[in-house]
Symmetry: D2
Subunit: 268 residues, 4 copies
């Protein structure tokens, strides 16, 4: 397989307009779950930039369990992401849920995110194989390591070798956490593949208080980065407020993460 470390022993480093993922710098992506409006995004972006984040996250197209839930701002959200990111010299990562949106999302985003529910949407994966943009491939809700690697293989087989894995928790019997964050997946991907892997502690735990300890653990486990939900006012967020941290929490967390990164010979 093209994703295998056996045929590509050295680490692949993915260059997102100068931000390099997979090397000795740990890259932090942060922002709200959903783009809600200019002010919310602007406040968040300014703050996470100052705290050290390099990439702005935010959902414009939201896959939601119920058809009656907020489905995202769509194109308007993409425009806001680009505008705000550019102001603060941030890159943009956002989810694509429909291959028909590829040209549109490519226009505004720097990294195209494939969500958990789409990990085996093979038509989307094939379309992304033709894209020139890096892809953030989240692990499916109950995807094995092997299935995840094969999903990435669809993208590489199509011609796009810029895939970043993202562990975001798996389904287990435990109900205290929203999902069970499987950090051993970081070690597994590092062993089996040359591609980088980041961790999403926000969806991975679903609990605000766990973001800090699991972020530190993710970096110590060897992850190349983190993607964290930050909201200026989590209590009124249109989605995932319970797992979003405040801008101050994020700032404090970044200080701690620098220490952990240094301890394992990396930097942030």
């Amino acid at each position: 397989m093209l994703v295998s470390r056996k045929i590509h022993p050295q680490d692949t480093i993915i260059d997102v307009g100068g931000v390099k993922i997979g090397g000795d710098e740990i890259i932090i992506m942060a922002g709200p779950c959903s783009v809600e409006n200019f002010e919310q995004l602007h406040e968040t972006a300014e703050s996470v930039k100052n705290s050290g984040a390099k990439i702005l996250r935010g959902g414009a197209f939201k896959p939601r369990t119920s058809p009656y839930d907020f489905q995202g701002l769509g194109k308007e959200g993409l425009k806001l992401l680009r505008e705000v990111a550019d102001e603060f010299n941030l890159k943009v990562v956002t989810e694509i849920v429909d291959k028909d949106d590829l040209e549109l999302v490519e226009k505004y985003a720097d990294i195209l995110q494939v969500g958990s529910r789409s990990m085996q949407n093979f038509q989307l994966l094939k379309a992304l194989g033709k894209s020139s943009k890096p892809v953030l491939l989240k692990r499916g809700l109950s995807a094995t390591i092997s299935e995840w690697l094969n999903a990435a293989e669809y993208i590489l087989a199509g011609g796009n070798s810029q895939v970043i894995f993202c562990e975001r928790g798996i389904r287990t019997f435990e109900t205290y956490t929203r999902n069970t964050l499987d950090l051993s997946a970081v070690a597994a991907i590092k062993e089996l593949s040359h591609l980088p892997i980041i961790v999403d502690p926000s969806h991975g735990t679903g609990r605000r208080k766990m973001i800090a300890p699991m972020s530190k653990a993710a970096i110590a486990s060897g992850a190349d980065g983190l993607i964290i939900e930050v909201h200026p006012h989590p209590e009124v967020a249109l989605s995932d407020g319970v797992q979003s941290i405040t801008r101050d929490d994020f700032k404090n967390l970044m200080t701690d993460l620098v220490s952990v990164a240094n301890a394992i010979g990396k930097k942030i």
Copy 2:
């Protein structure tokens, strides 16, 4: 929710060109995992028809874990399905994996199947909400009952109220079976929704010897039908041979199923 029994207390019966699903007749769908060629499909169709099946199953578009596995015959497979089904007066159920294929699949199939990996492909669900054909909605690999009902809600909210649920096994720690067939999902759907539900013992167990006992159990649990993989020569099948039964096995099974159906006041 539109799928809820609370707002629609009586059972919904879905009429597939005269074949009624959800009433007191149990409907059996049978055929190969993948449509491979005319002879394979013709032999299978003739046999399952004679044994009592009403609907021919067969994959033309196959979602496969690896990009290098057989991906199905595509449009050619759809034509074969229609041609052979018509010869034996069977209806056709086949999977749709891409909303762009909707017009094409609608032309050849009587029931549009949504596979497990697509259960939360909301773009596909929305497109199917505009279709005039019934939809067979398989449960996701680790979908809760609640998420499954919400996936159906996407289709009903779009205007298509002809949804048939299909329990096909969930992911658990057990490795003896391919999946764990959750027959309590039949009782749950019957309690919570007015829509019919069938069971797929082939994917649900992944083991040929388990098809008979689990088919009988499914009917006893209240399922409105079954979808079973039958192959004239399972040992050379291009996909899922290990869980396909022979035409003779299917014939014998149908005899047993009639007894179980009668025992609970239904017919086949």
Copy 3:
């Protein structure tokens, strides 16, 4: 292994004082979760006997998640079970949680039950290997089929070959049901072992409305019997009221079960 069908091809039939488990008669065990008092047990026993049950179930020693929950009546409960069962010519099955209680429980019970939490209590299994009484071995909360067979092997290796398996649901991500009842385990045990297997739909689903459909399904899947929680007043039960059915529900269920049993060539 001694439990393997390979070295013992024919079915083992276990004789519990004339009640034979594993043959062509399906044996129903019924009674309250916990023995609470004489009246509760007497009312239940009389009713389930009249409806066709052969064995009275009831917990005297209760393994409870919290140390502050009702732990059972102990020896007093055992005496009540024996007294009431004898009055109605029923056999007694009850749980043993401590090997030190072996002599005591053997004195009052006809079948010694090993609960899910004790399936790999190897000291208890070894002690039961020296008993002359049949053992009902419940599947562990997350035990694989292989581990379950090995647990039984501990008992057989000790000299006691009278083991009855009991599927009671496994831990999965689904929260609608208390556990996920795995009826494919019945087919698996029948294929791999010569020993009988029964099903517990009460713990397996945790929901009163599911007892009837899953009981029918269990019999259709090939189970040799059922163990069902029946309580004269489920709403005031000291444990598991939510999954207990009334005496009338049980009576109606038995009528249905006879039909299903007959349909597969068995009797009740």
Copy 4:
């Protein structure tokens, strides 16, 4: 509950003959899965002591899936543990599987380990509630956080408040790892309880190469210690060789762990 942080806000520090668990020093327990003979244990103990371990682990009573597997040296193993530990000024942690062995194990061990399979062996827990020795309570194979806390509560309710939790991986659908190590359990226990928690990356992953990254992650997540399987010759170990690391691997790991511990304000 007595285990709750609500009624006991400050961290409990457990003193094992001067080795303090739960404070700002991270305690490393290391040694072979099973005590096999003097030489194996002596070589291991000398090495792990020199590398910084404070407590010697080793199984004398081994709970094994099959009755035909090596069950441990029993009392002879306990004596070897004590003798070798004393020579190197180490403390001893070893598993107790039978409450009848309590006096014996207490005589030779400093910490009494309750294995995963015994987490809800309530008789054993009640017996340990009467012991004066600290208890290492491993999480059950599919135990929820709530059940785990309740298991500890059995011990505290009996009068022994010296309980150390140990996360060792849970059962999930993933087969690449032996279990899925749930580091979010560390954060959960720290939030809900005042008692210390350590992590077992050896059983938690079942793969030698994952021990180092997951050990670092465990410390970064806030764990108070680690318990690691070290064997002088993993390839000939009588049990768990595939997940044991060599003495050299352990030495190198300890150097890395010191850095991670310092990064979060702790020491080793």
